[in-house]
Symmetry: D2
Subunit: 346 residues, 4 copies
């Protein structure tokens, strides 16, 4: 941490800053610049120290030198995190996986039909929403427990690991019981209690980036899960909010490339939410693979026009099939072929 003093700061003010730094068992080293003085803070700093020093009289600003996340950082852990799931599916080992299924589970038929189709097309993981966070209280909120059971049955029948969103602390047990991966949605990225509870389950957790979360905040939220001793964290970029209104969100692939550099955690791209339009899903999915994503999450619905949630961004099974073929070709071309198909349980 570097404390930048004001040009007009006094000797006493500088001394007071050093005294405060030393009161925490740290050391302050003064550097005299041409115009002003800066004070380097040496030792193991803690996050709240910045605020403390920033408000002292004579201080202009406090600059951070180290990144505030630790367990999520490549500086701490060498190698890539690989998350292992049932049926021999792994995320993060260099071969991308595809998660696919309906936004919301609407019925056993709808789910089974979709599962059969995405399995056939080569998907590795089945997604399906049981509890849906909706902006309006008047929208469809999912079938709840019933849908969880359908999802577990479909995963078992089609031999696909399953993923679904955990929306509330009260559902931690039941979602953990029925799902192979717990998804934390964008709106809950800073629901810190929920993050900790999800971490405690020991189940793999996929953490979506918040609508206006910086990359640093996203990794700090991952840190909430990791500090519970749960190392199986998957990140998911699903679009951020900008001034642009022609697309639902702005899928930030810069972030994917950068996070792969900053962190050892696998990163999945969700072009369905990231664009909001089914016709943009295929190009952005392949772009996601090109940029180095460890997986894709795609909404597929047998009849998107009649979907109870997010129909506008869901692919038909036919379009999904095309996407899988293009993704396969591209993966081979860039030396990152799609993962092998899930294996039947022994």
């Amino acid at each position: 941490m570097i404390v930048v003093m004001r040009i007009d700061s006094s000797e006493e003010q500088g001394a007071a800053v050093i005294e405060r730094i030393e009161s925490f068992g740290l050391r302050g080293e003064v550097i005299h610049g041409e115009q002003r003085k800066v004070i380097a803070v040496l030792g193991q700093v803690f996050p709240d120290l910045r605020d403390e020093l920033a408000t002292m009289v004579g201080v202009d600003q406090v600059l951070r030198v180290s990144r505030p996340y630790k367990l999520a950082s490549r500086e701490v852990r060498e190698g890539d995190t690989v998350v292992d799931l049932p049926y021999g599916v792994s995320i993060g080992n260099g071969r991308p996986v595809v998660m696919a299924g309906p936004c919301a589970i609407e019925s056993e038929e709808q789910l089974r039909e979709t599962a059969a189709q995405v399995k056939q097309a080569g998907a590795h993981i089945l997604r399906g929403g049981a509890f849906k966070p909706r902006t309006s209280p008047y929208s469809f909120h999912g079938l709840g427990l019933e849908a969880l059971e359908m999802l577990q049955r479909a995963g078992s029948e089609y031999q696909l690991p399953v993923i679904t969103e955990l929306l509330s602390e009260r559902d931690v047990d039941v979602v953990t019981e029925h799902s192979d991966v717990l998804q934390i949605g964008a709106r809950n990225m800073q629901n810190f209690v929920l993050l900790s509870e999800a971490g405690k389950t020991g189940k793999p957790v996929m953490l979506k980036r918040g609508l206006s979360a910086t990359i640093e905040e996203w990794l700090l939220s991952a840190e909430y899960i990791l500090t519970q001793g749960n190392r199986d964290v998957i990140l998911c970029e699903r679009g951020v909010r900008t001034f642009e209104t022609a697309t639902r969100n702005t899928l930030d692939l810069n972030a994917v490339a950068l996070v792969k550099r900053l962190s050892h955690l696998p990163v999945v791209v969700d072009p369905s939410h990231g664009t909001g339009h089914w016709y943009l899903v295929r190009p952005m999915a392949t772009a996601g693979l090109a940029v180095g994503a460890d997986g894709l999450m795609i909404e597929v619905h047998p009849d998107p026009d009649r979907a109870l949630s997010d129909g506008a961004q869901s692919l038909t099974p036919e379009h999904f099939d095309e996407l899988m073929q293009e993704a396969s070709a591209l993966g081979r071309a860039i030396g990152r072929p799609l993962a092998e198909r899930p294996r039947a349980a022994a």
Copy 2:
């Protein structure tokens, strides 16, 4: 709702849209423009219909005509909502109130000292954080239940209604028991389960705007509380996230003026979080009153340099006193004098 067809759409595609509209018991009326056809949807539309129609072949876009929130809208309820609190304090009756206190409650002394000072300076409500949502798992997270009890005692001793943040479903009962107003923080604005639970308590709820929430989303989140039969909802603008990094957030006073026009709910302004710098709090607080806010929420700390949370944006008691004097003068000048001081309980 208005369905805009593509210029090159066919007769059959238009007919299919009308058929779909009629399948919901609604009526579709076609208007033939110069270049293209639009179809007005008549009857009581529901929110998910938009997505359904938007994906149909031949449809260019679907425009909404009505606002999606109802109970929060001035179109539904005449007059302003007034929320009554203990000690004769009311929010929303045209005379602004001031909520003040430490960001986080750190000790009985710190809280009592602050309470005495803000009461003396003319504050109407005592704020203090017991459960603190922090970006980093390594930051101070509040004293929890112990702090709730301190807050309740301080409110009782200094005869001030109290407000504190509800962070988790598991704390609903205990926070409801100790606080006069439940605060929902910006990061939980779309934690829909928490909103519903808060609504069910029947206690007044103050709902902060999310960091990147549109005004419409904010009012829809209020709707989650209102649909539980709880009419005592207070909105709080606390700054949104923009590209600007020189201030912590961008306090959006446009939103305050607009929400007062769209909704009957009272609106409070939080210039402490809205700016992130103590020296911007006073000017933005008075600007908030000038724009028509029903109240202010101000962080005050007896020794901001040593605050465990958000010291950089906390006022000293002296600065708070100055702010109250300026706010008083301004309130009188614009015909909206500050509310009377809390009354001793009978």
Copy 3:
């Protein structure tokens, strides 16, 4: 400037950084932290150095210590800049001024009628657009030279200084000849050639903030004018672009308060563009005064429904009159009464 080295950087990499620093006649001082090394750059750094160092092998990031603008900064110049205009009108002396008039000048009658009304209501400066930057090539672009002449005549007749936008290098002479203040619009805030040309005229220049310009970029653009030896620069906050779509822009009053602290230049607030809705202009104008603005810029049109440009945000003369009364009362209450009315020329 502070160079932060990577945790895994080598001795040689650090030495290379210092060598590079010294090659510019500067000095590098190494501080050894617990985990990593940082190197302070001592001497008169220049802006492009940051990029040079940031790309060197072993460097993690380069932090800036000083602000990059100089002539615009309070650290360089004590006291406030006061810009003097004809008819005894001054901007920046603690008493706010009001600029008012039509968005676009449409006819001699429209302009004279508006000028008479705003003068009567107490405005200090007459605004009117002759060259209009419009998003679409199919919109009305102003009457050009003819409008400039009308503006000059109206200013003379009603004894008001006038301001109009300079849109193009080719118009510098003619606008300078006809207007007392040259306005640089938001879209041209980083049209650096135009800024320099405007600076060279020696006429007062009002520089609007760009739609997504940071405060630092805004002050650096002011610096382009100031470095031409022209000290009469006025800043104008007119709203920034955010994700919110319910208002045309988000008027950033935080920025006004902060710029008054960082810079000695006067700051004017434009709530007409800053909100885009006439019914939000009055509350945001008074909020602008409360926050410390040195002036307001308000669009007034005798018949906003029939305005050829920006009718939706223009006030009727009646509404403008109400605004002036409220602004007067508020100015007196906060010890910053509106400026005296323009004086007849001797």
Copy 4:
């Protein structure tokens, strides 16, 4: 255009709206909804009409049905625009091209060295800045005319078409004389006078998207060039400004996919400015190709550490060579192989 009336609007207010519509020779058709009335405007509407109607008493909002750009729209012109350049290079015919070269031209040697290297690696067009728009007046602003001549000589020597930025109206002739494509930078995207002047030259124009420009505004700016009778417009996505600060900009590939759908104009991606970090350029370049871009623009510098401008985002020749190999492989895999190498002039 659809006029939505307020729920509480009167018959007279509706009649006044229709009268106003008819006064422009258009027709208003009333649709009575359950709660409110909407009025469809039939006939050839003009952009400013929206504002006129939006301010009328009783009107809630005015919704647009058609897109405001015409010549740039696929609805107007079938097929893709293909821009032909010297040496047989074409942009927009399905085979992507690569533009490469230094951000700023610093010397004849630097430029010739870079040109030789990028030609060798397979680039199709040589870029190089002669006039540089810089945020700070104290930064390097390019060598001007001298650099233009160097660029023309290098293009001729290495048989590559050249592109450089047009920064000012005063330079239109000289840049047109020396360059095969005129680049309009992001900061000038709404410098409407410059757009028109560039359009009049008849030379191909590459229009970069503004830092916070919506897709609609971008296409309207293209329209300013197209309405001059110049059909050779190339769009360039170079990153938008968001809240994220870890990358210099947020490269918006959603926009590329969407613009290819909305418009017939070719779209180029600039991952150098779009990310700001050389190590993100390669992944984002390949992502740009995957999403369907017609070309890439890449900054290459023989010694990025010593670049006078934007060194942090420039590739070394070695890294550029790797990028070209990966781009080639990816292009073949997705059926869009890179364009053939430039042909020697006959």
